[in-house]
């Protein structure tokens, strides 16, 4: 069905960003309210569209809107078209819903910042770009949103770019994302060369006629794109540094929405991955690696935001794993994405609330015992915590256990390996999240007297409370009567493979709970029953040292890409001046033969050059005349 209101979803926040950026300081006084209203307006449109879709029969729910012909050259035809189907609308509600809550939170959180208006302009811009990403009806439209959110992320990570390290973090994120974007670019090119179209509808219709080789190539390139945007191995190094951005940004962009775009891309492209098993397996493996990778890093981080960032990486690893399990897993990947959107955004806002009360201190070794001073923050953070470690009946229990279960049932060695990784991840998650909660809220105080911890204002805790409600109830809501799965079925064609079930849901849940209990117990012993030093101990194992340094991902990138790249740049510079330009100068000297003559021509008197040109022109006419005699 066509709908004329899809464009307003994007237009409202885009208009907000434009107004806030162009009006400059004039809108300082009302900019934050205006920005929040634009985001809320977009949410309202989203809800009304969702209700409209609910009212339609299953087969006719997808809404489309063609705006104009964007690029049309030969057979390359791309419309500026929007598509809100069952998959996109989930994202629309998440982006605008959580987005609006974070706008509200930021009104208070950024109230002392001179550039609050600019912050809201960027947030609005992000919402618009992210909506375009999930609403574009072709890969090329998605690409515009895809790089648009990258730009928003760059601007927001570097929001305080007066500080050089923050500016560097922003640049790093953009470049890492661009490596991924290269994958997306190539995927689109291959799709066009193979299928003659880049629209989702067209690719879906014709994919079955393409060779497996081409589909695998497209799939792998899409995976590259996803690893960049979603901070998956091996392009994950930027996410930790991205915590340089203000905390609401970490909650919205680097936890709930943008970093999950890779999962959207893979799920959206199910019609490719389902026909390219190799690419699909690669997706699952990358997910499994990253979920462990992130979890291990999370165990060693003392910076609360970096611990949460590592956790995000790991949780997205779960989603990517789910999406890599094909039709059996897509719906659960999306479910985990949505529940994670609630609980992780909530916890990030909680971290922001803690920082707000602690003079922007981020080192958890300098926290301790904060639950008495920040009861609401503690309660909402705690609910998010229960959700992420997967305690029933909180949200994560439903979504994560389902992914573990589907992984085990994927069959053969593959199933056992992926399932074990996912299960291990659950245990580590329980450990590091318990560690975060204990270090921050339990135990004795480890801060000095300069800090005066206090609960945050209403505008900050209200969004946290709403997100905590989501952490509690969303899992049940999505699973009840298989609601989310049935809802998404027309897009991802979920066909549960119950043949050869290795582990039943009950067994998986019990196994997971036992491992979670072990993880929690170990963290309690280590951090609650033992004294926590204010400075991180130095006499730790090699593994802890590696985990503290993000498992040496930066060192690897530096050694393999950065330094050789810098040497190449320097080498080429020398070559350019000495070899190429040198050769030119050499030839010039040789041709003219006499240094004397060279000096004469280089007198700098422009008149003599003019004479040369005139002489040339005369020579031309003369030559032609001679030739035609």
């Amino acid at each position: 069905m066509t709908s004329n209101s899809l464009v307003y979803l994007i237009a409202l926040p885009l208009f907000g960003a434009a107004v806030l950026l162009l009006s400059g300081r004039r809108s300082d006084r009302w900019g934050h309210i205006f920005g929040t209203l634009m985001s809320a307006g977009s949410f309202a449109v989203g809800v009304s569209l969702f209700l409209k879709m609910l009212g339609n029969p299953t087969g006719e729910r997808a809404l489309t809107q063609k705006l104009f012909s964007w690029i049309s050259v030969g057979s390359f035809q791309v419309d500026a078209g929007l598509l809100a189907d069952q998959l996109s609308i989930c994202f629309v509600l998440l982006i605008t819903g959580v987005g609006t809550l974070i706008h509200v939170y930021s009104i208070a959180y950024m109230s002392h910042d001179l550039d609050r208006r600019r912050f809201f302009a960027y947030l609005n811009f992000f919402i618009a770009a992210m909506l375009l990403l999930v609403l574009g009806d072709s890969y090329l439209n998605l690409y515009v949103g895809w790089e648009g959110v990258g730009l928003a992320s760059y601007l927001l990570i570097g929001f305080w770019n007066q500080k050089p390290t923050y500016a560097t973090a922003a640049k790093k994120a953009f470049v890492a994302n661009r490596v991924g974007d290269m994958g997306l670019s190539l995927a689109i090119m291959i799709a066009f060369a193979t299928l003659g179209t880049v629209s989702f509808q067209g690719v879906k219709e014709h994919a079955s006629q393409a060779s497996t080789g081409s589909l695998t190539a497209i799939g792998i390139m899409l995976l590259v794109a996803a690893t960049g945007k979603s901070a998956q191995f091996p392009l994950q190094a930027w996410l930790g540094d991205a915590m340089a951005g203000p905390t609401p940004v970490s909650a919205l962009i680097h936890a709930a929405t943008m970093v999950t775009a890779g999962v959207y891309l893979i799920t959206r492209s199910n019609f490719i991955f389902d026909l390219a098993p190799t690419a699909q397996l690669a997706v699952a493996i990358i997910g499994a690696i990253t979920l462990l990778f992130g979890a291990i890093i999370g165990m060693a981080k003392d910076d609360i935001k970096k611990a949460l960032a590592a956790s995000t990486m790991s949780q997205i690893g779960y989603m990517v794993l789910g999406a890599g399990l094909g039709p059996a897993g897509y719906a659960f990947a999306i479910m985990h994405l949505l529940t994670h959107g609630f609980f992780k955004a909530g916890m990030f806002l909680g971290a922001g609330s803690v920082m707000h009360g602690m003079n922007d201190e981020v080192n958890m070794r300098r926290y301790g015992g904060l639950r008495k001073f920040m009861p609401i923050t503690f309660a909402t953070f705690g609910l998010g915590y229960l959700a992420i470690i997967g305690v029933p009946p909180f949200a994560g229990f439903y979504s994560k256990d389902k992914i573990i279960e589907v992984a085990f049932n994927a069959g053969g060695v593959k199933g056992i390996a992926l399932g074990t990784a996912a299960l291990l991840g659950a245990m580590i998650t329980a450990f590091y999240m318990t560690r975060v909660v204990i270090l921050t809220f339990a135990g004795s105080k480890r801060w000095d007297d300069k800090a005066h911890p206090h609960e945050s204002p209403f505008l900050m805790w209200a969004p946290m409370v709403l997100l905590a409600l989501g952490s509690v109830a969303s899992g049940f809501f999505f699973t009840h009567g298989n609601s989310l799965r049935n809802w998404l079925a027309p897009v991802v064609e979920a066909t549960p493979s119950h043949e050869g079930e290795l582990l039943s849901p009950a067994v998986v849940s019990i196994l997971a709970l036992v491992l979670v209990a072990i993880g929690v117990g170990y963290a309690i012993i280590k951090y609650l029953l033992n004294e926590v030093p204010q400075v991180a101990p130095a006499d730790v194992t090699v593994f802890t040292k590696a985990a503290r340094k993000d498992l040496l991902q930066d060192n690897f990138n530096e050694a393999v890409f950065m330094r050789p790249g810098q040497s190449l740049t320097r080498g080429l510079q020398v070559a350019d001046t000495k070899l190429i330009d040198g050769a030119v100068h050499g030839i010039a000297r040789l041709a003219i033969g006499s240094g004397n003559l060279l000096r004469k021509t280089q007198t700098g008197f422009v008149r003599s050059y003019a004479m040369w040109i005139l002489a040339g022109a005369i020579a031309l006419v003369a030559t032609i005349w001679v030739v035609t005699l």
């Binding site: 964007w70 060369a193 320097r570 021509t601 040339g616």
Partner: protein, 505 residues
């Protein structure tokens, strides 16, 4: 009178009037130049509206016998590709004048002379794109060097003489090779159909493949110097470093396009077989230019040289698109020429303001400008985003068309070229970080932000960059018929998609 001829005469008349002014009236000279270039811009827009996009042959054609003894005609006319480049030139000219309002003051000669040179140059630019007679083209092609030479050597900074001479010698060398080819064509035409410089007639000539290859090279090398292709590029960074920002815009934004335009109009049309023969070699050079230019740009410490090297990378993309011989590659390359004109103009114009305020072109002398001069910083940032082809901005459309058009025929070249988009992020974001971010460098605290004149100059550039990113159709509609026509003439059709959409499985 024909529109093209009138548009060429208009700047000349302006130049004549200005030359009658006393030297002291430099403000009046500026105003008259601005007025003239605006009139030309309006005229070109009218022409673009009257252009019939359903035709593939030349429009606004006018032919007069010029030197009948040699079969030389004054013959002009434009197809979509030429028209787009004329639009580019006509729009950029007033912007350059307004942006570099005080650019002429530090020169060897008066401001009056500066503006006469600019106006004469504009005439020649319109001429070189609309010439439909090989001799006429050559005259414009060579004569263009004169005003540029004086603009660099007379009004530039630093080693301006050396740079101007280097530019001139390179260009003359290329021109000489082309001249040899032109003469050969002329002689051949005399043997086969009667002496002529008419391009249509020349394209029908019978030649042995050796002859065709040699003559092709004569043209191609001249064009590869102009739109510098590796390894013929070393004059460009020197010229850009020494020229005033306005001259650099004219040089890199417009004049260098004569090279890539020439490849389409002359190399492909006159020597289709040789073009095929040399395509592999040229693609290699194009890909090297993309990567090499980008790496060199990353390493630059001087802002002007940096922009020059980004252009070398971009010219690699344009050349790749042209020789991919697909409609997407061709339309993309032509659109790229237009978009590159605007994004480079934005970089040079805003960069120029930054440099004149700071009194230095060293990137490390800036720092923290976002705090001090937010509007200027934002303008530079948007220009940079356009240069790295951010989706949503005009250059993305053209860059992607070039890549996808290349991929369908030469996937390897396209894949290597795609690495350029990562390098582009580096060569833009590194100077952005150094110049705009970080703490404010001592000495920069009191820099002034853009004034009203400067805002008026940069606003249309940014508006076009954004508008064409979302809605490139007006230009693509003009370009597409000409691109398809050129490819068909050269004996190519677009590769088909691998699957047959009709066949089921």
């Amino acid at each position: 009178m024909n529109m093209l001829t009138s548009l060429m005469l208009l700047p000349l008349i302006g130049a004549l009037l200005i030359s009658a002014l006393p030297t002291t009236k430099s403000l009046l000279a500026k105003q008259m130049t601005l007025g003239t270039t605006l009139l030309v811009a309006i005229g070109v827009i009218v022409m673009a509206i009257r252009f019939d996009t359903s035709k593939t042959d030349l429009q606004f054609v006018e032919t007069h016998s010029w030197i009948p003894t040699f079969g030389i005609n004054y013959s002009v006319g434009v197809d979509g590709i030429a028209l787009v480049l004329i639009i580019l030139s006509a729009l950029l000219a007033p912007i350059v004048v307004l942006a570099g309002w005080n650019e002429s003051s530090g020169g060897r000669w008066s401001a009056k002379t500066f503006y006469i040179l600019v106006l004469v140059l504009e005439t020649m630019i319109i001429g070189v794109f609309s010439a439909n007679d090989l001799f006429l083209f050559y005259v414009f092609f060579e004569a263009m060097l004169i005003p540029v030479y004086f603009l660099i050597g007379g009004y530039g900074t630093g080693q301006r003489n050396a740079a101007a001479v280097k530019f001139l010698i390179y260009s003359l060398l290329g021109g000489l090779l082309m001249l040899a080819s032109i003469i050969a064509l002329y002689v051949l035409s005399g043997e086969q159909s009667g002496h002529t410089f008419n391009i249509n007639t020349l394209s029908q000539l019978q030649m042995s493949s050796t002859t065709q290859n040699l003559l092709f090279l004569g043209f191609f090398i001249a064009f590869a110097i102009k739109a510098p292709l590796w390894p013929l590029h070393t004059w460009l960074p020197d010229a850009a470093q020494s020229a005033t920002p306005g001259t650099s815009v004219l040089l890199l934004g417009i004049l260098d396009k004569v090279g890539t335009f020439g490849m389409i109009r002359y190399c492909l049309t006159l020597f289709p077989e040789a073009s095929k023969t040399f395509t592999p070699l040229i693609l290699v050079l194009a890909v090297i230019s993309i990567i090499y230019g980008a790496f060199l740009a990353i390493g630059q410490k001087d802002l002007k040289r940096l922009i020059a090297f980004t252009s070398i990378s971009h010219f690699g993309f344009i050349t790749m698109g042209i020789f991919a011989m697909t409609s997407q590659g061709h339309s993309g390359a032509t659109l790229y020429m237009f978009n590159h004109g605007f994004s480079t103009a934005a970089l040079f114009i805003v960069g120029g303001w930054m440099m004149s305020r700071r009194g230095s072109s060293k990137i490390s002398d800036f720092g923290g400008l976002q705090r001090v001069t937010p509007v200027m910083a934002w303008s530079f940032f948007i220009a940079g985003m356009s240069s790295l082809a951010l989706p949503g901005l005009s250059s993305f459309v053209s860059e992607f068309l070039v890549l996808v058009g290349t991929y369908t025929r030469y996937p390897v070249a396209a894949i290597i070229g795609t690495f350029g988009i990562v390098l582009a992020a580096l060569y833009i974001l590194i100077p952005v970080q150094r110049a705009l971010h970080g703490p404010t460098m001592p000495g920069n605290e009191a820099l002034s932000d853009l004034n009203l004149r400067e805002k008026i100059a940069i606003a249309p550039v940014i508006a076009i960059i954004i508008a064409l990113g979302f809605y490139p159709s007006p230009l693509l509609n003009i370009i597409n018929p000409a691109s398809t026509h050129t490819i068909t003439q050269a004996g190519f059709t677009d590769p088909l998609a691998q699957i047959d959409p009709k066949a089921g499985k």
